[in-house]
């Protein structure tokens, strides 16, 4: 994976000192909270319900053992012994003190990490496929392109005060494991007819209160114009994105209001101009970055395993993904134990995962947008030993992509923006479906829970989505069906009137009953819904 050189390190170190100075000015009172807020947000520091919250960037979801260990150590030293992995492949600490923050950033900088641009109206941490560099179906590893864009977007002088936050995703396979078309800009690395690699751009996707699927805006940008084209996309947005209403300020509204074609026309005009400005990094830069992501030294080994232990076999079936080398798999470490808090991991668990990565996965880990952790390169012959250790640590739940593997935002238990709690719902649903054995029968079923309209829990993209709302001071939950964040991207539709907490859990049970009764062949919940439509589900819920 990528290693900082002295220039990268110097940027991050400079940022720590800049923040230390900003925090000092705030604590002395020379910066007001209004002035300080955008500055602290650009370093990932929020003021949440109970304390400050610090969001640490994990660029394109990739980290090494030393970094994961440092994250665990920070959880113990400065927080209350745990952290929360997010749908942006980042990590959040919930109990941070402003007076400690610069020291935490300094500890992060020692292991080439930071919290730069993890919030604020700027280009956020760039996300990618969690199986990048390991998946059997990718064209190339997308991460060198993501790293090139990470550097370009870090402290970009023109794009630090955008109308609103800006999220970029880079993938390189037809299968979309990163919700690419639900980003402000989605980039897919593709090959043209001449066999050359290039970037296909999508723009104007997103969730929030007005969910939209990004339309394609250019089917092929030559790789030596990648940054230039992105720069053009951003400049048009910076100049013309709405600033009169924060709920209409994302690029999706600009693309929608201008129309895709007019946005494209403006971008192309700016692109032509930018090409003359020479903003593209030298070609050699991408070539410098690529070797950092070269394959580790894979060895041939056994391609089959002893499946005599049914618990182990189930975990292998559920939680491993086919690798490009047939003696390896990518193994998913579930952070969704039954009744647990989705995405939370203790300092001890982080250090354990770090050690396992060192031992079994060439020192590498990935964070998934589904709030789990991946060991990308595990020898098939090591799987049983790995699973045994995970089981012992409570990290062996065999539930990837099942209803128990739900996404849930922190909700009203932690978040100042939330209207309702998300975590208790997640806990109760996983307990109920696990106890009844229904999880197994349902197969792939993506449940996503958000505690407010901002949709951090991706409810619009859930096969089943739940949105928490405030109904006259009481928590209330809207149910929606039919969303997908994958390559068959779709937005979920609301079933009808909302439910209480107990009511929505019953409702999830009912809609899964409809599926089990109606499904044909190998259909997933989503497939059945798409075939039979909303009516039978509505009938079961409200009829």
């Amino acid at each position: 994976m990528y290693k900082y050189d002295s220039y990268d390190q110097e940027m991050v170190d400079a940022r720590v000192e800049e923040f230390r100075d900003q925090a000092r000015r705030r604590l002395e009172g020379s910066l007001s909270e209004d002035e300080f807020k955008p500055l602290r947000l650009m370093n990932g520091l929020y003021l949440q319900l109970h304390a400050y919250m610090l969001r640490v960037a994990i660029p394109y979801g990739t980290l090494n053992s030393e970094q994961m260990t440092a994250l665990g150590d920070i959880a113990d030293k400065y927080d209350r012994g745990y952290g929360h992995f997010t749908t942006r492949q980042n990590l959040q600490y919930n109990w941070i003190k402003l007076e400690d923050t610069a020291d935490i950033l300094a500890d992060l900088a020692k292991v080439e990490m930071h919290a730069i641009q993890t919030s604020g109206n700027c280009i956020r941490n760039i996300s990618s496929d969690h199986f990048a560099g390991a998946a059997h179906d990718e064209l190339v590893d997308p991460r060198p392109y993501a790293e090139l864009m990470r550097q370009w977007s870090s402290f970009h002088p023109e794009f630090t005060y955008l109308p609103r936050k800006f999220k970029i995703c880079v993938i390189a396979s037809e299968k979309d494991r990163a919700a690419m078309r639900l980003h402000d800009i989605g980039v897919q690395i593709v090959k043209n007819e001449a066999g050359e690699l290039g970037a296909r751009f999508y723009a104007g996707g997103g969730m929030g209160r007005t969910p939209m699927i990004a339309p394609m805006i250019r089917d092929f940008v030559p790789l030596d114009q990648l940054i230039t084209y992105a720069e053009a996309c951003l400049r048009v947005y910076n100049r013309y994105g709405r600033r009169d209403n924060k709920y209409k300020a994302r690029i999706k509204i600009l693309v929608h209001e201008l129309g895709r074609d007019e946005y494209v026309r403006q971008v192309e005009e700016e692109f032509a101009h930018m090409l003359e400005q020479g903003v593209e990094p030298p070609r050699e830069e991408l070539e410098r970055i690529k070797p950092f992501f070269a394959d580790p030294a894979f060895e041939d080994g056994p391609k089959t395993l002893d499946r005599s232990d049914p618990d182990f076999a189930l975990w292998v079936d559920r939680n491993t993904n086919r690798h490009k080398h047939d003696s390896y798999v990518s193994a998913v470490i579930s952070l969704k134990p039954v009744g647990g808090i989705p995405g939370d991991a203790t300092g001890d668990q982080m250090r354990l995962m770090a050690r396992l990565a060192k031992q079994y996965s060439f020192d590498e880990l990935r964070i998934m947008h589904t709030q789990n952790v991946v060991l990308p390169h595990v020898k098939i012959s090591d799987l049983h030993a790995l699973w045994t250790e995970l089981e012992a640590a409570g990290l062996g739940s065999p539930n990837m992509d099942s209803i128990e593997d739900m996404i849930a935002c922190p909700g009203l238990d932690y978040c100042a923006l939330a209207n309702a709690r998300s975590i208790p719902l997640a806990q109760r649903i996983s307990e109920r479906f696990n106890a009844s054995g229904k999880t197994e029968k349902l197969g792939e079923l993506k449940l996503k829970i958000s505690g407010c309209i901002n949709a951090c829990g991706h409810h619009h993209a859930g096969h089943i989505g739940i949105l928490g709302v405030d109904k006259k001071g009481l928590e209330n939950y809207q149910l929606s069906l039919g969303g997908s964040e994958a390559e068959d991207t779709s937005l979920a539709k609301i079933t009808g009137p909302g439910f209480t907490e107990d009511g929505v859990i019953e409702a999830v049970d009912k809609v899964t009953d409809v599926y089990l009764a109606e499904r044909e062949g190998e259909e997933r919940f989503l497939d059945t819904y798409r075939r039979i439509g909303m009516a039978p589900f509505k009938e079961a819920l409200y009829g």
């Binding site: 050189d5 220039y7 990268d8 110097e10 940027m11 400079a14 800049e18 100075d21 900003q22 000015r25 020379s30 002035e35 955008p38 500055l39 109206n121 550097q151 370009w152 870090s154 402290f155 970009h156 002088p157 023109e158 794009f159 630090t160 005060y161 955008l162 400049r235 910076n238 100049r239 600033r243 101009h273 400005q277 020479g278 903003v279 593209e280 990094p281 030298p282 050699e284 830069e285 410098r288």
Partner: protein, 153 residues
């Protein structure tokens, strides 16, 4: 002049130019396009900086107003003017704080007239903030990728 506006030379706290401070009343972008003798203009966030491109030769001063520091349109306006070859004074005015200075410099501003005068020490540190930079902008600095590859770009 009816539509005179803008800052006076006395309001300029930081300046990175050796020429005489332009002491002209600025006019709006609309007025600038109509008047053939205007030599100073003030750009508001909603103005299209590109309408000024035909008049750059006669402009000694362009003020770009930041009514609120969080509105970043002025950064694009500044860069667009420099990309088009504007060499006169580019003055950031309004809600300009210490923490915006380094990026503004990179986007081509060479004079600063903040509403609230800034602490000189904090500002000096801010201007010197980045020893090196990742992106090509309009300040002529070699970027980190260029340095890494022997400045061949």
């Amino acid at each position: 002049m009816d539509n005179a506006l803008g800052t006076s030379p006395d309001d300029v706290q930081f300046r990175f130019r050796d020429d005489e401070v332009a002491d002209h009343a600025a006019v709006t972008v609309d007025a600038c396009c109509d008047q053939t003798n205007a030599t100073a203009v003030r750009i508001e966030p909603g103005d299209d900086a590109r309408v000024l491109l035909p008049f750059l030769d006669r402009l000694a001063l362009v003020e770009i107003n930041f009514p609120s520091f969080g509105d970043g349109r002025g950064y694009s306006s500044a860069r667009i003017l420099r990309e088009a070859g504007f060499t006169g004074e580019l003055r950031a005015v309004g809600d300009v704080g210490v923490d915006q200075l380094s990026h503004m410099r990179r986007c081509g501003f060479d004079a600063f007239a903040p509403d609230k005068p800034l602490n000189e020490e904090d500002a000096a540190r801010a201007f010197a903030m980045w020893e090196n930079v990742y992106q090509r902008a309009v300040d002529g600095r070699r970027t980190i990728p260029q340095i890494r590859h022997g400045d061949r770009a």
